[in-house]
Subunit: 318 residues, 6 copies
Amino acid sequence: MSDIDWTPISGAVLPRYAGVPSFMRLPQIAPDDPRAPEVEIGLIGMPWDGATSNRPGARHGPRGLRDASTMIREMNRSTGQLPFSAARCADMGDVAMSPVDQDEALEAAEATVASMLSNDIRPVMVGGDHLCTLTVLRALRKHRGEAFGLILLDSHTDLYPPYFGGKTLTHGNPFRQAIEEGCIDPHRTFMAGMRGTSYNTSDFDYGREKGVHILPIETCMERGWSSVMDEARAVAGGGPVYVSFDIDFIDPAYAPGTGTPEVGGPTSFEAIQCVRALRGLDIIGTDLVEVSPPFDPSGNTSWLGVSVLFELICAMQP
Amino acid sequence: MSDIDWTPISGAVLPRYAGVPSFMRLPQIAPDDPRAPEVEIGLIGMPWDGATSNRPGARHGPRGLRDASTMIREMNRSTGQLPFSAARCADMGDVAMSPVDQDEALEAAEATVASMLSNDIRPVMVGGDHLCTLTVLRALRKHRGEAFGLILLDSHTDLYPPYFGGKTLTHGNPFRQAIEEGCIDPHRTFMAGMRGTSYNTSDFDYGREKGVHILPIETCMERGWSSVMDEARAVAGGGPVYVSFDIDFIDPAYAPGTGTPEVGGPTSFEAIQCVRALRGLDIIGTDLVEVSPPFDPSGNTSWLGVSVLFELICAMQP
Amino acid sequence: MSDIDWTPISGAVLPRYAGVPSFMRLPQIAPDDPRAPEVEIGLIGMPWDGATSNRPGARHGPRGLRDASTMIREMNRSTGQLPFSAARCADMGDVAMSPVDQDEALEAAEATVASMLSNDIRPVMVGGDHLCTLTVLRALRKHRGEAFGLILLDSHTDLYPPYFGGKTLTHGNPFRQAIEEGCIDPHRTFMAGMRGTSYNTSDFDYGREKGVHILPIETCMERGWSSVMDEARAVAGGGPVYVSFDIDFIDPAYAPGTGTPEVGGPTSFEAIQCVRALRGLDIIGTDLVEVSPPFDPSGNTSWLGVSVLFELICAMQP
Amino acid sequence: MSDIDWTPISGAVLPRYAGVPSFMRLPQIAPDDPRAPEVEIGLIGMPWDGATSNRPGARHGPRGLRDASTMIREMNRSTGQLPFSAARCADMGDVAMSPVDQDEALEAAEATVASMLSNDIRPVMVGGDHLCTLTVLRALRKHRGEAFGLILLDSHTDLYPPYFGGKTLTHGNPFRQAIEEGCIDPHRTFMAGMRGTSYNTSDFDYGREKGVHILPIETCMERGWSSVMDEARAVAGGGPVYVSFDIDFIDPAYAPGTGTPEVGGPTSFEAIQCVRALRGLDIIGTDLVEVSPPFDPSGNTSWLGVSVLFELICAMQP
Amino acid sequence: MSDIDWTPISGAVLPRYAGVPSFMRLPQIAPDDPRAPEVEIGLIGMPWDGATSNRPGARHGPRGLRDASTMIREMNRSTGQLPFSAARCADMGDVAMSPVDQDEALEAAEATVASMLSNDIRPVMVGGDHLCTLTVLRALRKHRGEAFGLILLDSHTDLYPPYFGGKTLTHGNPFRQAIEEGCIDPHRTFMAGMRGTSYNTSDFDYGREKGVHILPIETCMERGWSSVMDEARAVAGGGPVYVSFDIDFIDPAYAPGTGTPEVGGPTSFEAIQCVRALRGLDIIGTDLVEVSPPFDPSGNTSWLGVSVLFELICAMQP
Amino acid sequence: MSDIDWTPISGAVLPRYAGVPSFMRLPQIAPDDPRAPEVEIGLIGMPWDGATSNRPGARHGPRGLRDASTMIREMNRSTGQLPFSAARCADMGDVAMSPVDQDEALEAAEATVASMLSNDIRPVMVGGDHLCTLTVLRALRKHRGEAFGLILLDSHTDLYPPYFGGKTLTHGNPFRQAIEEGCIDPHRTFMAGMRGTSYNTSDFDYGREKGVHILPIETCMERGWSSVMDEARAVAGGGPVYVSFDIDFIDPAYAPGTGTPEVGGPTSFEAIQCVRALRGLDIIGTDLVEVSPPFDPSGNTSWLGVSVLFELICAMQP
C-alpha cells in the first residue's frame, strides 16, 4: 500500500477556493499510475463534445466541475455518509480525446475505462456530451461479458434513430446504440424526465418496442418523484446497473449551462432526492454529462453538477 | 396555391443553430406579400418598448425569440400535435414601429394586424412591451365588431389608472384601456398570477368593479393551476377569446429577462401546463410579451419564451 | 418634529430607475443626525465581508440592494399593508467598516446599532456577511439586558466551532458565538433550511445540545413551510425575537449571488410565505445578509433580496 | 450660508463601495432646495432614453454612473486639481422625465436646467441619450439670450435630418435642431471622432454648409489628438462654449455599454487627454451621455464614464 | 431579371434591431434559388467548429454576425462607397454542415461554394472555424484551374503540421493544406499579425521554406500597418487573391469572443485600415472566421466582426 | 534526481482545456515535497484579498490563472525561448492563507516563500492582492540579508500612508512598508504607469523623498515604453531586483477583472514589451497580482495575466 492520503483537505484548513482543483480535492492518480489498483472509485473526465448537435461547450465540463468541486465538504449531511472515507476515491484525470476525430476520441475513452475496470475501479465519468457514456457502457459490457441495467435521468431519451444523414454516433443516440450493441438490457432500462419538443415519436417507439420503461415528465410530476424512483428500482434494480445523469434533466432555471436545455423540468431538490433513492442498488458505474460552462454565467450549473456527482458517489456506497 | 414549403426544415438536416432565424424556421411572408392569404396563423413581431415604465429592452424581444426559436422541433411530445403541419404558419416579420413616436408606432401595429385579419390570419403577436397587445385587441375589435373574452397570465393586472401624470398608454394600462374602448368583455376577462408590491389597490378595484376575474398568486398556489385554468375556461371560454401571456407571469428565476420582474411566481412546468389547458377554446389571437434580452445573460428567458409561444400555437389548434 | 417626508416618492412620478438610490427611496437619516430619534425602523447597511470563508462580495450587498430597492412600490398587495406609512422608516446609511481590520469593523458596527437602539429605532440590518449579524445581536443584548429569541432562515446553522485554526469570528460561527455570549436564548432559537455537505456534525450536535431547534431541509419539505413556520412561532415567539434571513436559504436558481450557495432549497414563493408567517411576533430587529452582487449576473438576487427585506419590514408591523 | 460639507467623504474613511451613492459622494441638493443657490457646479441626471434609435438602456445611465462614481478620489493626480474644493459641487438628483411622453420629458428637463441657471449653477448633465443635451442647450440659450459655441466628442455628428418618417427629435438630431433653434453658433461648433457606416452624407453636408467644423476619425488619428484639440479651442474657444461628450466617442473595447457603438475609436488615454485640453475655456455647461449599463457586463463603461465626468468638472475650473 | 430589391431597408425606416436578420438585411437567395445567377457577391455562412482545438462556439458565428449586422448602414463614410448599390449582394444562407462528421461537412461546404462560383458569385464566407476557409480555397482552385494569392490577417499562421496524432484537418492547418493541395501560391501568400506562444517553429519554418511572407506582430508594430499592407499588396497583389480575416488577428480586448485569443494585437482602428488598404486588388473571395458568440458577453466581437465584413465587401469593389 | 517530467504536456496531445489545471501544466510539487530542492523556479499561489480596499475577488486569482494557463504553449515565439526546458519550473500550490486573520495569513505566506528560498527556488508569486507581495519581499530580505531593487508596473504606487484609521497593511501600502522595513532599496526602486485620481500627493511625496523613481502614465506615454524600460534598467538593474506586476497597470479595456481599475493605461502589446525588456536583469523573484475573476466576464483578464506570467518567467532566464 502506498502512503496516499485519501481524505481531501478540509476547507477549514485550506480555503475552498484555494489549491490546484482536482475533483473534490481527491488525490490525482492516472489510470496508468502504479498506485491505480488501490483506487476503488475513480472519477475520470471526458472533455469532449464532438457529438453535440446543438450548443457546444461540454468539452469544458470537467474543468468547470473540478473548479466547482472544491466547494464540496466531507460529509453528506442528509445521509450521514462520509464517502471519501468509506471508499478510496481518486481523480484519474481526463482522457486525451481528439476534438477533431470522433473514432479516435471514442476509442481512447473506452480504452481508459477498460483500464480502470481491469483494476476493479468503479468509474464515475464526468462529461463531456452524452455520447461519452457509450464508451463507458462498451467497456463495462466487454469487462462483464453481459448486459446490465440502466437508469437514465434526462430530458431526452437519447434513443433517436440515425441523425444528420445517417449518423449513429451523436449525443442523441447513445442508448439506442447501447441496446443495439447489447451493452444494456432494455427490459432493465428505465428513463425518466423526458420532455420538450421532438422530431417525431421514433425514439419512444423504438424504446418501448424494445422494452424500455420511459416516463415523460408529466407522468413523473403526477406520480411524484419518490414513486418514480421506486419504479426505477423495480425495473432496473434487480442486478448490476449503470446510472447516467444528464444535467438537462433538471429545469434550465437551475441548470442553464447545457447544450440542449428543455424547460419544465424538476427542481434541484427533486433531482437530489432522485439520486439518493438509488442507494443500495448495485451501481457498477455512473456519470454526469452535458454541463457546458460557456452557457453558465452564474456558475450555478457547475455547482449543481458537482452536488449531483457527490450524491452519485454516495449512492454507490452502502 | 403557391409552392411554399410550410414545414420548417428539421434540426436533423440543418443544425438548429444554423440558417437565417425566422420564427421557428417558418416561411417568411410579409402581411403585404401576395401569398399572405394562404397563411392561417401568422407570427408578427412588435419590437417596441416605448410604453415601458421600468427597464427597457423588450424592443429586442422578437430578435431574441427568433434566435431561440430555431431550437424548437416539429412535434409537441406531450400532446402529440404537429402544429406546423396542422395549420399554415408563417413569420410575417416585424412591424416598423417608431421608437420615438408612440402614436405612430401604435397605429402602424394596429394597421398591420388589421391587414392580417382581413386575410383571416390569426395573429400570434411577439412583443415588445405589453402595450403592444392593445393594438391587437383594437384591430380584433374592429374586425369582429364586438368585444371578446381575454385570458391574461401575468404578474400584473395592467389595469392601472393613468400614470406619469395622466398617461393612459403605458405598459401598465392596456387592459383598462381595452375595457374602456370596448375591445374586451370584462365579464369574460380572466387574470391570474398577480403579485408583488403595488402602488395601491386601484387596479384590482377597477377590474373587480367592471367584473373582471382576478386571481392573485396566493389563490392560484392554494387552488392549484389545474383548478385555476378550469376557472379560466369557465369565465372566458364561452366564446371567442384572446390569450395574452406576459413572460413575467413566471418566476424570475426562470425568466429574468424582463422589465418588471416580480418574485414568487410559478415554475416553467406550471406555466406550460396552464397554456396546454387552453386547448379547445376559440382562440382568436394570442401574444407573448415583455421578453427583454439585455437582462437575460443565460438566454433562459428567450428559450422559455419560445417554448411558451410553441404551446400557444398548439393551443390554438384542435 | 421635523418636516421629513416619510413616504417614498412613487414610481409613477419619478420612474423607478431614477434618483439617488436610498433603500426603498426612504429618507436618508444618519444615526447621528439630529432627526434620528424620529425614526422608528432604521435600515442600516453593513458593507463588509471580512469573515467570509468562500466567495467574497457581500461588501457590495448594500449597494446592490439599494439599487434594486427602488423597484419596490408602496403597498404589500398580499397583506394590504403600507409599511412606510405605518411606521417612520429611514435609510440610515452604511457603517464605515474597515475592510482590513475585523475588530475595528465589528466594533464600529455594534456601536452604530447601539446608537440606533438608544433612540428606540428597530434595526433592519442589510449585510454584508453573516458575521455582521453578531454585532446587532450584541448591541441588542446590551441594550435589553437579557437574551432573546432567534429565528434563522438559512442553509447553514452558522453554529460551527472555531475555524481556520481557531477563529471564532467567521461567517460560519455567529450564532454559536451569540449563544456563548448570552445574546440569544438557545431554547428560543429556531433554524430552518439547513442542507448541503458539511464538515461534520459538530454544528448540529452543539446546537441540539444547547436546545436549539434545527430543521434540515428534508424535514421542512416534508412538513410543508406553513407547518415549519408554526413551529418557529411556537419555539421562538413567546417574547422578543430577532429574525435573521440569509439569502442562501433560497435555492441558488433564485439567488445565485451569494458566497456559499447550497442547492436544493425553497423557492422564492415559499421564502416569502415564511416571512409573512412571522407577522405578529415581537420582532426586535432583523437582517438580510450574504447577497453578493459580483456573483449575480442577472440581478435576480438583489431583487429577491429587497423583496424579502420589504416583507421583513411588513412583518415587523401589526 | 448653510453648513453643508462640500467635500466628499474619503474612501480611506468610508470604503469606496459603501454609502448611498450620490454622484462622486457630493452633497444631495435638489434644484428646488433652499440651499441650491450655494451650488456652483450641479450634476443633474437625465435618466431617459426615449429618443434612442437603436439599443436602449441610457435611462439607467445616471444610476450606473452614480454607483461607479464613488470610486473617484479627491485629487486629479495629473493636473493637481482638487475640483470639489475649488468649487461647490452637488448632486442635484435626476429629472423626473416621463418614459412614455417625449414632450413632457423634454420640458421637465429644460425647466430643471433653467432653474439651475437662474441660480448661477453651471450644469453638468448626466444622460440619458443624446437628445437630453438639447434640453440643456435650449435652457442655456434662453438664459443667455444668445448662441454659444459647442465642442462635441462623439462618433456621430447627431446632425441627421428628420428620421423615422419626419421626427426631428431623436438622439440622432439634437445638434441640427440646436442650430435650427439658434442655440449654438455653427461657426463656433467643433465635432471630432466621427466614424462608422452612415445612411448618407446629409449630416456632414448640412453641418459643413452651416459652417460646422467636423473631423472624421481618420483625420483625428492622422493629426494626433493634441492637434485636434488645438483646433477645437481655435474654432470654439473664443467665447462661452458647451462641451458634450458621448461615450461612444471612445472605442467600444473601452466602452461597450452604449446604444450605438462604432468600432475604430480612440483609447481611454486619448479621450482623457482630449478633455484635459479643454481647460481654460469658458465652459458654460457640459454633459456625458449615452452610457447604457445593461450592455456593460464588466462595468467598464460606467467607470470610464465617471472618469470622463471627473475630468470635465476639472476642465471647468481654472 | 427578377424584381429583387437589392438595397437593404434603412434603419431610419425599420429600426435596426427589427426584422428577420439576414446578413446586413440583404435579400435571402439560396445557392440553388433560380435567382442565384443574378447575385454578384454572396455571403455564405459556415456554422461549423468541428476542427477547433481549443474553445468551441464558432458554429454560432453566422447567427451572431447576422444579428449584429442589422446595425450596418448603407454607406461607408470613410470611402464614400455604397457597397450594396455597387454590386448585387445577397445572404445565401448557411451550409448544412454536419456537426458530427468532418468529411461530410467539408464536402457540403465546398460543393456550396462551387455552386456559387458556377454562377460567377464571389464568395464572402462567414465562419465558423478557420478550416472552413479550406473549403472555399478548394472550390476556387477547382473553378479557376490554378493557384492564387492569399492575404491572411490572423494571430496564427495556421500552417501547423499534423496535430492530435496526425490530423491534417484542424483549424491550425488550413493554409499548409492549401499549399500542399496547390490551392494557393506560397510565393504570393502574405501573413501578418502572428504572435503568442507556439508549440515550436515548425509553422514558420514550413511557410518560409515554401516562400510564404510571414510578419510577426512585432515587425508589424515596428513598421506600421500602412507599410505592412503595402508589402501585402506587393507580395500577393499581382493577380487574383483571396483574403482571409481571422477575428483573433485583433487584440482580445476588442474581440474576446473567439476560440484561441492571443494578447498583444492591433486595435480595431488599425484592423479596419488594413482591410481598406486591400481595395483595388483582384479579390476573388474573402472570409471572416472564428467569431465565437458564447465567449462574447458584451457582443463587441460580433459587432466588430460585421464591421470588418462590411469593409471586406467594400474592398472587393472598385 | 527524481523522475519528474518537467515538460508540460503539449496541447497537441492533451487538448488545452483538458486535465487538472496546474499552472501552465507544470508538475505539482509542494514546498515541503521531498523533490522540492530540484525546482529552480516555483510558482506559488496566494489566494488572498484580505487587504483589499475596494472590490474583492483576488482570492480567486490563482484559480482563474491556473485555468487560463493551460492555454500557454511551450515556446515564446518572439524570443525563441523554451522557458520550461531552460529551467525546472513547478506549480508549488497555494499557501493556506486565512481569509479571516491578516496576521496569520501574512505569516503563512512569508514562511512558505522562506521555505522555497531555502531550497534556492526563485519565487513567482501569483496573487492575491498586492499586500501579498510584501510577504515575498520580507522573505527575500531575510534570506539575502540586504535590500534589493524593485521594478513595479502598476497604476498605483502602493506607497500610501496608513489607511482606514492607521492601517499600514492594506494593498495600498506594501512598498512603503517594504521601504520602512528595509526590504527594498528606494534608490533602486522604479515605478511606472501611475494614474487615476488620488487622495492627495502623499504617496508621490514619500516615494520621491526616499529616492524612488516614479513615472506617471503621461510621462511614460510621452517617452515611449522602450525608453521607460531603459530607465527602469538603469535605475533598478545594477544588482538583484524584484519585479512586481499589478494587472491594473494595463488599461481596464484589456484587464477589467481587477479590484481598483484606472482608465488610461497601456495596451497589452505595450505591457508585454515592458516585461520582455527586463530580460537579462538579475531577477530574484517576481509576481503577478490583483487579478479578480469575479469581475472578468469575458475571461480576458486571466488570459492576459497568464500571458504576462509567461513573459515574466521568460525574462528570468538568460
